[in-house]
């Protein structure tokens, strides 16, 4: 009994120390540069893979373990320096949320590179004889490698601590984490240290990755599975605090491995997110962090959209596009290209999802990193309705909207009082909580999910309507297939959502949202309760994301927990940025570009995310206002002399604000 307890404790400490090393780098990078590095998990995985390359592929074998432990972190450190120098650096001075976007793009790039080089299989790292097997102490046997991990992990953490505390570099870095401007005022060029800090954090992550790789299999999902707990730890301990990273890492490691997994597996994966949410609400600076005077003065770069194209032309373009979409199923049928309808349906569902995110992100500056929560809610509510209550697709979708809106109110109520990066983190925590919940409860079908294929579904209410499985409806000479019918339902939903949100933006409500985006403090001091307005916007957004989720479930005739995974939240942000934030139609274009690119690229390579990631990173750096800003930019370049008279056109107001002119 005691033996078992100790074994569990050793497990907890072992994994906890890996977390400590991972989170320490993440936290220091945030503290010094205000950069939330989503790619940190991939750098961690890269460390493990470099070790694989050296020991397995280059044939050094177990004897090379120590070589790998030195060499791989160095290599990853160099990559870290390059990342800072060439991608992170151009973004200083912008809203810190752009770093989240950028590093998410890097996740796609590095992760797909790993697939490309090492394939989808798993590797085992050979370990030297001396640290294999078990060690028995007083009748209790523990794995020698775990002990090794504890020793070397603690040694590394201690030397980082000592380095931060006793060296000149450490002093400057700690001072920088406290107050960058003050360090600059003292005449120290803190900016020079940025590359160093980033590279050092990356190397630390790689080191942790190798140590972990000796204990478990190395798979391409390694980074993805460690980054979220690492964020939990950094938030618990306090963004920017080394002590916090140590305490948080050990806490999460022990909680997860020593307590929850052996004794309460049903709660594993949920408690830590509840903890994270609780901390963010009660003490956003974390257990050991100091309160940040967060710099929110840098605005999000929203697009003017209509800057160049006038209102009339835009109406005509919109009409033309809708006309084309209406004809798409018929054309596809005639040309015998049914996959057009499939692709079109996907684009429109994701376009709706992206539009819903844009409504909060582009108009109120709330960057939700957990919007997949609402996609997942809508999907499961619709699926459960169809399985247990009624076959009516309409009832299922209305319930999906209602439940998502209600949950959005609750999440908004708890989240909106925290700002900026903390808001991003708390929404991420809610989404992960829900994702883990889906796995742990039975009525959702757990990891199996829910299938809808055997269930009678129809478009209508109270038993009357068109069967979903219908082979075709004859409208004069044209046959509308079942797929096409669903396509029209999705198209109608998207147009409905677009018109509703656009009208809201022209109302007093929308005008307040725009004022909040411009200057929240000022909006408060002319008499608006900005929290209430932001929460309402969040509810509207959640409702439409829920609708997208319901359609998503219907489209696949199947739901599984992956609908709520954080990658989905990341992908939808990618689409919003690709198209152009703060325009409503930009994100729909972004969704089109995303899937268009996928369908073109996937003909050539299965690793299309690599290309997409690179394109996205370039967009974040060079074209942050998205595709819809291209006409204006081209115009600038062609006319040469620049924008000409009048205010800067690229910060022009959104079109509906001109409504009051006439």
């Amino acid at each position: 009994m005691v033996g078992l307890l100790i074994q569990h404790l050793v497990d907890g400490l072992t994994v906890g120390l890996v977390y400590v090393l991972l989170a320490a780098g993440l936290s220091i990078i945030f503290g010094v540069m205000n950069v939330i590095n989503f790619a940190h998990g991939e750098l961690f995985a890269l460390g493990a893979y470099f070790a694989v390359a050296l020991l397995v592929q280059a044939g050094l074998g177990a004897g090379g373990f120590v070589v790998a432990l030195v060499l791989a972190p160095l290599l990853v450190g160099v990559i870290g320096v390059a990342i800072e120098r060439f991608t992170v650096r151009p973004l200083y001075g912008r809203n810190p949320l752009y770093h989240i976007l950028l590093t998410f793009g890097l996740v796609l790039v590095i992760n797909d590179s790993i697939y490309l080089v090492w394939g989808t299989g798993s590797f085992r790292l050979p370990r030297p004889e001396i640290i294999t097997g078990t060690v028995g102490v007083a009748g209790i046997s523990v794995s020698a490698y775990n002990l090794f991990m504890i020793v070397i992990g603690s040694a590394m953490a201690a030397s980082v601590w000592a380095g931060l505390k006793y060296t000149k570099y450490g002093l400057i870095i700690r001072a920088g984490a406290q107050d960058r401007q003050m360090v600059r005022n003292l005449g120290i060029d803190i900016d020079r240290y940025y590359s160093l800090v980033f590279g050092f954090g990356a190397a630390l992550a790689a080191f942790a990755g190798i140590v972990l790789a000796g204990r478990q299999q190395v798979t391409p999902e390694l980074g993805m599975s460690f980054i979220i707990p690492a964020f939990v730890i950094v938030v618990l301990g306090g963004l920017g605090s080394f002590r916090g990273a140590v305490a948080g890492g050990l806490l999460v490691g022990i909680l997860q491995e020593s307590i929850l997994r052996p004794y309460a597996p049903a709660l594993e994966g949920m408690i830590i997110f509840l903890l994270m949410i609780g901390i963010l609400i009660l003490r956003p600076q974390g257990l050991f962090g100091t309160e940040f005077a967060e710099d929110e003065s840098h605005e999000l770069l929203t697009s003017s959209g209509g800057g160049l194209i006038d209102h009339q032309t835009r109406l005509r373009l919109g009409g033309l596009l809708i006309g084309l979409l209406v004809l798409l199923p018929i054309l596809a049928n005639v040309l015998d290209n049914p996959q057009w309808v499939t692709l079109g349906t996907r684009v429109l569902i994701w376009g709706l999802f992206a539009l819903s995110l844009d409504f909060v992100m582009g108009y109120t500056g709330l960057v939700s990193l957990g919007h997949a929560l609402f996609l997942g809610l809508g999907a499961y509510v619709a699926a459960l309705t169809l399985v247990h209550m009624t076959g009516s697709v309409f009832v299922a979708l209305v319930l999906a909207i209602a439940v998502s809106a209600a949950i959005a109110w609750v999440v908004g109520y708890l989240s909106i009082r925290v700002h900026g990066v903390y808001f991003a983190m708390i929404t991420l925590a809610f989404a992960e909580l829900y994702y883990n919940f889906l796995y742990r409860v039975e009525f959702t079908g757990g990891s199996e999910g829910l299938g809808l294929l055997g269930i009678d579904r129809y478009y209508g209410v109270a038993g009357a309507g068109i069967d979903v499985g219908t082979s075709g409806i004859f409208v004069g000479p044209v046959v509308i297939t079942g797929r096409a019918l669903f396509f029209y339902l999705v198209l109608g939903s998207l147009i409905f959502a677009y018109l509703v949100t656009r009208q809201m933006l022209r109302s007093p409500f929308g005008s307040v949202l725009k004022s909040i985006r411009e200057n929240e403090e000022r909006a408060t001091f002319i008499g608006y309760d900005t929290v209430v307005y932001k929460r309402r916007a969040f509810v509207v957004s959640g409702a439409f994301a829920g609708l997208a989720g319901g359609l998503f479930a219907l489209n696949n005739a199947f739901v599984s927990p992956s609908v709520a995974e954080w990658l989905k939240s990341g992908e939808v942000i990618v689409m919003v940025i690709l198209g152009g934030m703060g325009t409503l139609y930009g994100p729909i274009i972004g969704a089109g570009a995303y899937f268009g690119l996928e369908s073109v690229l996937s003909d050539f390579t299965t690793r299309w995310r690599l290309v997409l990631g690179v394109i996205f990173v370039l967009f974040v750096i060079f074209l942050p206002r998205g595709l819809v800003s291209v006409p204006t930019l081209l115009d600038h370049h062609l006319s040469g002399a620049g924008p000409g008279p009048g205010p800067e056109p690229d910060v022009a107001t959104e079109d509906s604000s001109h409504g009051g002119d006439d």
Binding site: R506, S507, I526, D529
Partner: protein, 269 residues
């Protein structure tokens, strides 16, 4: 500087001379340091009151406590007879406390009209149902738009109404800032160093504008320019180290020994 009341907020019950703002035993501590250390102060309706004091006297903290930007440590703030000590900043604005900010503090990306319209709209948000406020186009609220036009006329920005606020010249921006305060139709206006960083001439223009358009409101001003304060104020409150050391007419303050000491002491230190 008295004038007839012609403001939008009909002062049917309110009379000039009654107390509008009352601070009682106000204390604000930051850790050990008491930035405001037991301030009692009353301001009468229609008064032009200035708050002066050496650097670090607690003037801006006092404003923040009145406007709700900071919570008090202890004491009460009463406005129009109601205890507003725990009211949110936005609720205080709706109750009638307006605040002007430093010059850059307008909605830069929005048009001049939209800036003013938002303030006028804030004043009336309670009058509309949620459905109206979510879906009815802003053009169709004639009362808000009329109030907006009136305000634009008063601050002389009607011609620039469609210009983006970022593109305004310095002086016009100042007008806009005052227009935004005016559009919310406050009973009490807190003016936070409205002439900071201005030339003599710009200062003059700004003061003329304030006197012209805010004449019906009760004004509470923080200002460094002592000459200006002496000229404009009905009464002056002098703060030093978080305490009121003197209060009275401009003449009385000019002659006050404690005030002289505080200012001279500040210089010598």
């Amino acid at each position: 500087m008295a004038a007839e009341t012609t403001g939008d907020r009909a002062d049917d019950t309110a009379q000039r001379g009654e107390t509008i703002l009352e601070l009682e035993g106000l204390i604000k501590r930051f850790g050990e340091f008491a930035a405001i250390d037991g301030v009692d102060m009353t301001v009468e309706r229609g008064e032009f009151r200035s708050v002066i004091g050496p650097n670090g006297a607690g003037k801006t903290t006092l404003f923040n406590l009145i406007s709700g930007a900071l919570p008090v440590t202890s004491g009460t703030v009463r406005f129009d007879g109601d205890d507003i000590t725990s009211m949110s900043p936005e609720a205080r604005v709706r109750a009638g406390i307006g605040r002007s900010f430093q010059i850059s503090n307008v909605f830069g990306g929005l048009s001049v009209r939209e800036n003013v319209r938002l303030a006028a709209q804030a004043n009336q948000q309670a009058d509309y149902s949620i459905v109206q406020s979510l879906f009815k186009t802003t053009d169709r609220y004639s009362d808000i738009n009329e109030a907006t036009d009136r305000t634009l006329e008063r601050v002389d920005l009607a011609d620039l109404a469609d210009v983006e606020a970022n593109a305004l010249a310095y002086g016009d921006r100042r007008r806009l800032e005052i227009g935004v305060v005016l559009a919310a139709d406050p009973a009490l206006v807190l003016l936070d160093e409205p002439t900071a960083g201005m030339s003599v001439e710009e200062t003059r223009e700004t003061i003329d504008l304030i006197e012209e358009v805010l004449v019906d409101q009760t004004l509470l001003l923080i200002e460094h320019d002592i000459e200006l304060v002496m000229e404009l104020s009905d009464r002056i409150t002098v703060l030093n180290r978080g305490e009121v050391i003197a209060e009275g007419s401009p003449e009385g303050i000019a002659a006050d020994q404690a005030v002289q000491d505080a200012y001279l002491g500040g210089v010598v230190e």
